[in-house]
């Protein structure tokens, strides 16, 4: 027994020496190759307990090939609570919202597979795809899409790779890397709101930061208190109530309940009012498509990567290879709506009104003007083809009716009646 115990001790010692040697090898070499990474690790809280191999493993070739990425699951081995909160939150669905399979794309980077597939598995973690992602080059997908959307799998998105000083992730600037710009300028609208100004001038106790409202008490559930989906659809029922009460609970730290409720209810109303404008604009664009007045038409442009030859105006809408009026609609839906609504929820009047609401309404004016121009100045397709007889004219009207019927814009009865009134105008000889 004592011999067996001694043998076990020797094996254990041998293994630890091997591991130590490897870890020491990492540091020795990486002090020259990536000195900042080594310094950051040496100065981090991890240095006392973890060496390089604890997170990166020992397969140097796999590390170099990008096959041993330190993803959220590696961090989750120790940071269990944070990991589970993260996975359940909107950040944990970053890839679900933003990725698509690049298998058949010419510009595919083979390393991208690891974002959606477990090693050795062809089963994707998600079937949701993003048309705007799929139309990009590999470089743009990497720098312009994944750098933010990789947050699902990568704690380093916010924490960086080797620094463990939480001051950097508790600073609101940490969120700005992704939550800024024309499609969702939360950083800018917070920074110039009373909350942001107070935080900057008097400190976090006077004005709340992103983390104070959205990640209270260090929670990694960044969906805390948020009642909207990224596509700005309000949740309903119990889910809405739970999330709303969470946010009111935060507001109550500084404001009265009635004030908090009134402000958030007003933002809800602005969301509903703004979406009415979007629906009005969408109906105009769809009507033009029904009448084959978009240029280029759906048939003339490259196929949509997910829907083929279909007019796509929802969250999978593209901003390239579309008509001018669709480009206006994209701006309205993706930029103006977000600025109006998120401006309202972030207590920023300038964003709510001038960057948001005014642009929303002025773009609708542009859309109406463009629709009128297309309707009045463009020849109808049968006229462009030199087919001016009543049959070709009525054929076009029938096509318009059919498209409206097929997309559910008119009922079966309205379709029948519409066709009948067209038939009555046909020559009978």
């Amino acid at each position: 027994m004592s011999r067996f115990f001694r043998l076990l001790c020797l094996i254990g010692l041998a293994l630890s020496v091997t591991s130590m040697v490897i870890a020491e090898d990492c540091v020795e070499c990486h002090k020259k190759e990536t000195p900042a990474a080594v310094t950051q690790w040496q100065e981090s809280a991890h240095a006392a307990k973890l060496d390089c191999t604890s997170c990166h493993g020992t397969d140097h070739e796999a590390i170099i090939n990008g096959d041993a990425a330190v993803d959220a699951k590696v961090c989750g081995r120790c940071h269990e609570k944070a990991f589970h909160e993260h996975v359940a939150s909107k950040h944990g669905m970053g890839l679900h919202a933003g990725w698509g399979c690049t298998r058949n794309l010419d510009t595919r980077d083979p390393r991208e597979c690891a974002f959606c597939h477990e090693e050795g598995s062809t089963k994707p973690k998600t079937t949701v795809q993003c048309a705007r992602f799929l139309t990009q080059t590999a470089e743009m997908r990497s720098l312009g899409c994944n750098r933010c959307h990789q947050v699902e799998n990568s704690c380093a998105s916010c924490h960086t790779n080797h620094i463990t000083d939480l001051a950097s992730v508790r600073a609101p600037e940490s969120c700005a890397t992704c939550h800024m710009g024309p499609d969702h300028p939360q950083w800018e609208m917070w920074q110039t709101s009373r909350h942001g100004v107070l935080a900057e001038a008097l400190g976090e106790e006077a004005g709340p930061t992103c983390q104070r409202c959205h990640m209270p008490n260090g929670s990694h559930d960044i969906s805390f208190g948020i009642t909207m989906s990224p596509a700005m659809t309000q949740s309903s029922g119990k889910d809405f109530e739970v999330r709303r009460q969470e946010m009111i609970g935060i507001c109550l730290e500084c404001h009265s309940k009635s004030f908090s409720e009134r402000e958030l209810n007003s933002a809800d109303a602005i969301l509903a009012q703004s979406k009415e404008l979007i629906m009005e604009a969408e109906a105009i664009v769809r009507d033009l498509a029904d009448r084959d007045l978009l240029a280029p038409s759906v048939q003339e442009r490259p196929e949509h990567p997910l829907r083929g030859r279909e007019l796509v105006l929802d969250g999978q809408m593209l901003y390239e290879d579309i008509s001018h009026i669709e480009r206006l609609f994209f701006k309205m839906k993706k930029y103006d709506l977000a600025k109006t609504v998120k401006g309202a929820f972030h207590q920023n009047p300038a964003y709510t009104h001038w960057y948001g609401n005014a642009e929303l309404k002025m773009t609708l004016v542009d859309i109406k003007a463009e629709a009128a121009r297309l309707s009045h100045t463009l020849q109808r397709p049968h006229e462009q083809r030199g087919e001016g007889d009543v049959y070709h004219s009525q054929e076009e009207e029938l096509q318009i009716l059919k498209r409206k019927h097929d997309r559910g814009a008119i009922s079966d009865e309205e379709y029948r009646e519409g066709k009948q009134s067209l038939f009555e105008t046909l020559p009978k000889d």
Binding site: Y391, E395, L398, Q399, K419, F423, L426, P427, K428
Partner: protein, 359 residues
Amino acid sequence: MKRLLFSTLIILTFAAACATGTPPGSIPDHPLRPLADIDDSGLFSANQNGTKVTFTNDSLYLLDPDSGDKKKLSSAKPIALAWSPDGLSLAAAFERADFETELLVYSTGGMVMNEAVIPVALSQLYWSSRGDLLAVGFVLKVYSFGGNLRQLLYRIDDDTLVETLLTDSTLRPPLAEQVKPLLHKLLPVSFSPQGDELVFLRLHDPPEFSPYFQLLYQNWQFEKPRELLKTPLQAMSLNWEPSGNIVNVLSEEGLQTLNLWPSEGKAVVPLTAENYRFIDGRLYRGLELLADWGKKSQIQKLADGKFLLSVNRALYLGGGLKSHSASTYNEAGWNLRRWRYEELVTPSEYQKLLEEIDQ
């Protein structure tokens, strides 16, 4: 493959013309009138009212049946003939190479008015009721790794040649070699009497599965064909009923009558008393046998119940058939058919509108 060769010989010989014997008779009270001797190819065509008849007898001739005047149009023998609906132009197709066909358009005076070369072996030459000259052909390119079979539709409009791809199939090397000499008989094409729609076969040769045909139906003004049925590889014959709504498919499995626009969801329809069918040299009205001229005979229906018949290397003019409705052949009917294909009108709406035009 043997089965394929056998069926090719058996089923399609009714389209060849090697006449023997004597015509047994015709429609009661309408005796056949001899017009001319023709050669073994049995190729003939008349304009719709039967005032101009072309035929081959080693050369291509133009005949006026009333005066008996005969004129030689070409010393070369065409492979297809088609008269324009106004009866003023004749299109003739001549084989120039394996996959090259020359099309010449003659006036009634015998002058060449237009010419075009299409890079396919011709399957069908047709003049639509609207005046579009249409030609369908195929081209097979055989490589070491397989074959590429394409069928193309050409619309010849004065100086312009509009090409439409009908089918594009990849064949494995053995099949490509086997079918190459048989394609003329394996890829029949039939235009609707109006000439706006056509039925044709697409050859499929999927890996790991047996090759098969897909019978397709298409209005050539639209890109997408519709599948009518799938069938094993075999020789088939296709022809339309005068209404332009029904297609007869003759194959090893027998005669199938396909209603392209069934009002009650039935694709196969019973014979109706007013339908004429010419099958294996026999002329039927509904189920009634009107005449039997032998398997090698051919017929072309003309206006006013007249018809042209080739039997025993001789060409005859006959009469006594019932005429079809004129509405489906005019511009309004053409448009309504296009609407129906595009599913802008239902079959019943189409029928109602057609009846209103007739009133």
